[in-house]
C-alpha cells in the first residue's frame, strides 16, 4: 500500500491503525455489533419466555411483513410522525428561533435568566422531569388542574398526544435556542441595519436577510432534533403508550412488544424499520443541504 501521497501526518499505516483501533473496537462492540445482532434477532421468532425462547426459529421477513400489516404499528408510525412534526420540526424549531431572535436585543441579565431557565428543562434527568410533569398533569391534585380550577381533567389520559408534544417542546427547545443564538451572531449587522433603513418589517428581515444566512443551521438543527425526537423514550415515562395505544410512539411500541409481550424477534424487526425510517429522513435532509451548497 503506497501511502506517501495520503499520509499527511507521517504516522504510517501501522501506527495510524493503532491510534484508531480503540475507537473502532468501541464502535464495533457497542454500535455495529448490537445493530447487526438486532438485524439477526429480527428474522427469528425469538421470545422472552415460552418455547420460542428455548428454540428460536428463523422466520425470514415474516416479522417485517407482519409489522407493516399490524394496525398497532401503523398507528405508531403515524403517532411518531405527529410527535416529530409537532414537537420538533415545528415546536422546538419555531420556539427556539423565536427565543433566540427576541433575546438578541434584550438586556444581558434578562437574556441569561431566560436562557438559564430554558436550559434547565433540557439538562434535568428524564425521570425527574417526567415525575414533575406527572405532578402537573395529574387528574386529582395536578398543578394545571388547580390553576385552571377544573381538577377533574386527566390531561395525560384525555389529551395524551397533545400533552406529549407540549412536553417535548418544553423539554427540547433549549438546543434549538442555543444553536440559533450562535447562528444569528453570524448574520452581518450591516445587513440588518440596511434592512432597517430600507424600512423592512421584522418578518421581512427574518425572511430575506436572516434566513439565507442560517439556512444550513436550520437544516442541521431540524435533522438532529427530528432524529432525537423519533427515538425519544421519555413518552413511556409519562403515558406508557396509553390510554389504549393512543400515545404509543415507535420506541414505546418496540419496548412494549419486546419486554412486556416478550416478542423480542418481532420488536427487533420493528426497530429495524425505525432505523430505516431515520435513515430516509437523514438522507432527505442531506440532499437539501447539498442543494444549498
Amino acid at each position: 500500500m503506497d501511502s506517501s501521497g495520503l499520509d499527511s501526518s507521517g504516522l504510517g499505516v501501522r501506527r495510524a491503525v493503532g491510534f484508531v483501533a480503540p475507537a473502532l473496537v468501541l464502535i464495533g462492540v457497542f454500535l455495529v455489533f448490537p445493530a447487526l445482532w438486532t438485524l439477526y434477532i429480527g428474522i427469528t421468532n425469538y421470545q422472552l419466555t415460552g418455547p420460542a425462547a428455548a428454540n428460536p426459529r428463523v422466520v425470514g421477513l415474516d416479522n417485517v411483513v407482519n409489522a407493516v400489516r399490524d394496525p398497532l404499528f401503523t398507528n405508531s408510525v403515524w403517532l411518531t410522525a405527529l410527535f416529530v412534526l409537532g414537537s420538533a420540526v415545528i415546536g422546538q424549531n419555531v420556539l427556539g428561533f423565536g427565543l433566540a431572535w427576541l433575546l438578541r436585543t434584550v438586556r444581558p441579565v434578562l437574556r441569561r435568566t431566560v436562557e438559564g431557565l430554558v436550559l434547565l428543562s433540557w439538562i434535568l434527568p428524564g425521570t425527574v422531569v417526567a415525575y414533575l410533569w406527572f405532578a402537573v398533569l395529574s387528574r386529582d391534585t395536578g398543578t394545571l388542574g388547580m390553576l385552571l380550577g377544573s381538577p377533574r381533567t386527566a390531561w395525560l389520559v384525555q389529551y395524551p398526544m397533545t400533552s406529549l408534544i407540549i412536553f417535548n417542546v418544553w423539554r427540547g427547545t433549549a438546543f434549538s435556542m442555543l444553536l440559533y443564538t450562535s447562528a444569528l451572531a453570524a448574520v452581518p449587522p450591516s445587513q440588518l441595519e440596511t434592512a432597517r433603513l430600507a424600512g423592512a418589517s421584522g418578518w421581512q428581515t427574518v425572511r430575506d436577510v436572516v434566513f439565507p444566512h442560517i439556512r444550513g443551521h436550520v437544516l442541521t438543527n431540524t435533522l438532529l432534533i427530528s432524529l432525537w425526537t423519533a427515538n425519544d423514550f421519555t413518552p413511556f415515562l409519562l403515558t406508557a403508550g396509553g390510554p389504549n395505544h393512543r400515545s404509543e410512539v415507535l420506541p414505546v411500541l418496540i419496548y412494549r412488544q419486546a419486554l412486556e409481550s416478550g416478542q423480542l424477534g418481532y420488536a427487533s424487526a420493528m426497530s429495524m424499520l425505525l432505523l430505516v425510517g431515520n435513515l430516509v429522513i437523514a438522507l432527505v435532509y442531506l440532499r437539501l443541504l447539498r442543494r444549498r451548497a
Binding site: V17, L24, G28, V32, F33, L36, W37, Y40, I41, T44, Y46, Q47, L48, T49, G50, P51, A53, A54, N55, P56, R139, A154, L156, V157, Q158, T239, A240, G242, P243, N244, L259, E260, S261, G262
Partner: protein, 459 residues
C-alpha cells in the same frame, strides 16, 4: 482493513447466533458440602412498600433464623433478600431477563401463572432436575389442588405459597346511604347493576369498579374478564381450545359496556397508568361502592395497620359477597356463584451455585413454623393445611373464602399461551371502555387471538 473488520464481526455474530436461547445445566450435588454459602431470594416485596409483610418476614425472621440454623451445623450462610416494588408485569420481565442471562436469585417468588412460560423456555427446570431428591414431609400438608399451582405438564417445578379467592367487596357505609342492605348478596349481574344504579345517586361516588383495559394488566383478566366469563358457563380454555368471539364473551363485553358506557364505572380510571392503585385508594376513601378483588384486598390493601390503602374501619365498613353468575345456574358447572383463584410459587433457579442448600432453604421457608410466622398474627390461606386450621378461625373474611369460595373456584389454564390470550382479553375490554361496541371488540379479539395462538387452537 474495513472488509476484514466486517467479516470478523459477521463471524462473531454467526458464532453467537448459535447461543440464542441456550441455558446451562449442572450437577445437582455441586457444592453440597460447602462450608460457606450465599443464597439470594428474590420477591416482589419491599419493606414499607409492596407486600411489606412478606418483606419484613424475610428480612427480620427468615434470614436470621436460617443463618443461625446453618451456623449450628458449622456452615456460614449469607442470605440476601433482593427487594422489588414493581408492577407484576415489570417484575415478570425482570425475572425472565435475569433467568435468560444465567443470573437471578437462587430462590425466586413468581406468580403461578408464569410457570408454564418459564418452564417452556427452559428458564426454570423441574424441581427434581435442579436439586435431586425432593423428599419432604411438608408435601403431605399441601392440598393437591394447591400443589397444582407449582406444577406444569405433570411435573413439579416449585412450592406454592398459598392461594386466594375472588369476591365482590362493597362499602357498607355507602350501601346504607343508598338504602341497600349490609348483608347484600347479588344473585345475577342485573342485581349488581341495579345496586350500582342506586349508588350512582350518591354524589362523588363511582358505583362499580370492574377492572378493565391493558394498563391494569393481569388484574383486568383475573378480577374482571375471567370471573365474568365463568359466570356465563364457558371457561376461557376448554377441550384444548381458547374461547373466540363467542356469545358468552360478547355477554361479558356487554357487561363492561353497561358499566362503563352507562355511568356506573369510571372509564378514565381504567386507562390511567396507575389506575388499579388509585381504585384501591378511592375505595378506602369511600368513593367506590363495589369492587371485585381477591382476599388480598382484605389482607393487604384495606388492612388497617399495614395495608397500601388502609381503612381504619375496615372490619365494620367492608362487606363481601360471592360473585354471581350471569343469572342463577348460568355459571360454570351450573353454579350460581363463581370465583377464580391463583397464587404465588417459589422456584429454584437452575443456575444456582448451591442447589441442595437452596432446597434446604426452601423447606425452611415452607415449614409450619415459618409459614405461621409469615402471617404476623394476621390470617391468610397458606399452602399448609395445618397452619390454615389454626389461623383462619379468627378471621371472618378468610373463613368465608375457605368455606364458601374455594369449593366453587376455578384456576387459570397454566399454559404458555395464556399470557397472550390474557393480553387479548384485556385489549377487548379496553376497546369497550373506549367506546367500541361489544361485537366489534369481540371480533378484534378473535383476530388477535388467532394471531397469538393459531387458528386451530381457537374455538
Amino acid at each position: 482493513m474495513r472488509r476484514t473488520t466486517t467479516f470478523g464481526l459477521l463471524a462473531v455474530c454467526g458464532l453467537l447466533a448459535g447461543c440464542l436461547g441456550q441455558t446451562q445445566q449442572g450437577d445437582q450435588a455441586r457444592n453440597a458440602d460447602a462450608k460457606e454459602i450465599t443464597l439470594t431470594i428474590v420477591a416482589n416485596a419491599a419493606a414499607g412498600g409492596k407486600n411489606a409483610r412478606g418483606a419484613n418476614w424475610l428480612q427480620n425472621w427468615v434470614i436470621p433464623k436460617f443463618t443461625e440454623q446453618q451456623k449450628a451445623k458449622g456452615v456460614t450462610a449469607t442470605i440476601k433478600f433482593e427487594q422489588n416494588g414493581a408492577g407484576d408485569e415489570d417484575f415478570k420481565t425482570k425475572v425472565a431477563l435475569d433467568l435468560k442471562t444465567g443470573g437471578g436469585g437462587d430462590i425466586i417468588e413468581i406468580d403461578g401463572i408464569w410457570l408454564g412460560e418459564f418452564a417452556q423456555a427452559g428458564q426454570i427446570k423441574p424441581l427434581g432436575d435442579v436439586v435431586g431428591n425432593t423428599d419432604w414431609d411438608g408435601w403431605t400438608q399441601i392440598p393437591k389442588a394447591v400443589q397444582g399451582l407449582g406444577e406444569f405438564d405433570g411435573k413439579r417445578y416449585g412450592v406454592p405459597m398459598g392461594t386466594d379467592g375472588r369476591v365482590l367487596f362493597f362499602n357498607k357505609k355507602l350501601f346504607s346511604q343508598a338504602g341497600l342492605p349490609a348483608d347484600w348478596q347479588p344473585r345475577s349481574w342485573q342485581d349488581v347493576l341495579d345496586a350500582g344504579a342506586r349508588l350512582k345517586a350518591l354524589p362523588g361516588v363511582t358505583p362499580i369498579q370492574l377492572n378493565a383495559g391493558t394498563a391494569m394488566g393481569e388484574a383486568t383478566t383475573m378480577q374482571g374478564v375471567l370471573p365474568a366469563l365463568a359466570g356465563t358457563g364457558k371457561p376461557v380454555y376448554e377441550n384444548g381450545k381458547w374461547q373466540g368471539d363467542s356469545a358468552q364473551l360478547k355477554d361479558v363485553l356487554g357487561l363492561y359496556q353497561k358499566i362503563y358506557g352507562g355511568g356506573l364505572g369510571d372509564p378514565v380510571l381504567q386507562q390511567e397508568a396507575k389506575g388499579r392503585d388509585r381504585s384501591f385508594q378511592l375505595f378506602s376513601d369511600n368513593k367506590i361502592g363495589i369492587l371485585l378483588e381477591s382476599d388480598y384486598f382484605w389482607r393487604s390493601v384495606t388492612e388497617p395497620r399495614n395495608g397500601v390503602a388502609k381503612m381504619a374501619d375496615r372490619d365494620t365498613t367492608l362487606g363481601w359477597a360471592l360473585v354471581p353468575a350471569r343469572q342463577a345456574g348460568a355459571g360454570v358447572g351450573g353454579q350460581d356463584f363463581v370465583s377464580m383463584s391463583g397464587g404465588g410459587v417459589r422456584v429454584i433457579n437452575p443456575n444456582t451455585k448451591y442447589p441442595r442448600q437452596a432446597w434446604e432453604f426452601m423447606q425452611f421457608l415452607n415449614s409450619a413454623e415459618a409459614v405461621k410466622e409469615s402471617l404476623a398474627g394476621t390470617a391468610q390461606l397458606t399452602q399448609r393445611q395445618d397452619v390454615n386450621d389454626q389461623v383462619l378461625k379468627g378471621d371472618p373474611m378468610l373463613t368465608f373464602i375457605a368455606e364458601k369460595v374455594l369449593p366453587i373456584t376455578r384456576y387459570r389454564p397454566g399454559l404458555a399461551d395464556y399470557p397472550k390470550v390474557s393480553a387479548a382479553l384485556q385489549q377487548a375490554t379496553a376497546d369497550v371502555v373506549a367506546g367500541k361496541s361489544p361485537d366489534d371488540a369481540a371480533r378484534a379479539y378473535r383476530d388477535a387471538l388467532v394471531k397469538a395462538v393459531g387458528e386451530t387452537n381457537v374455538g
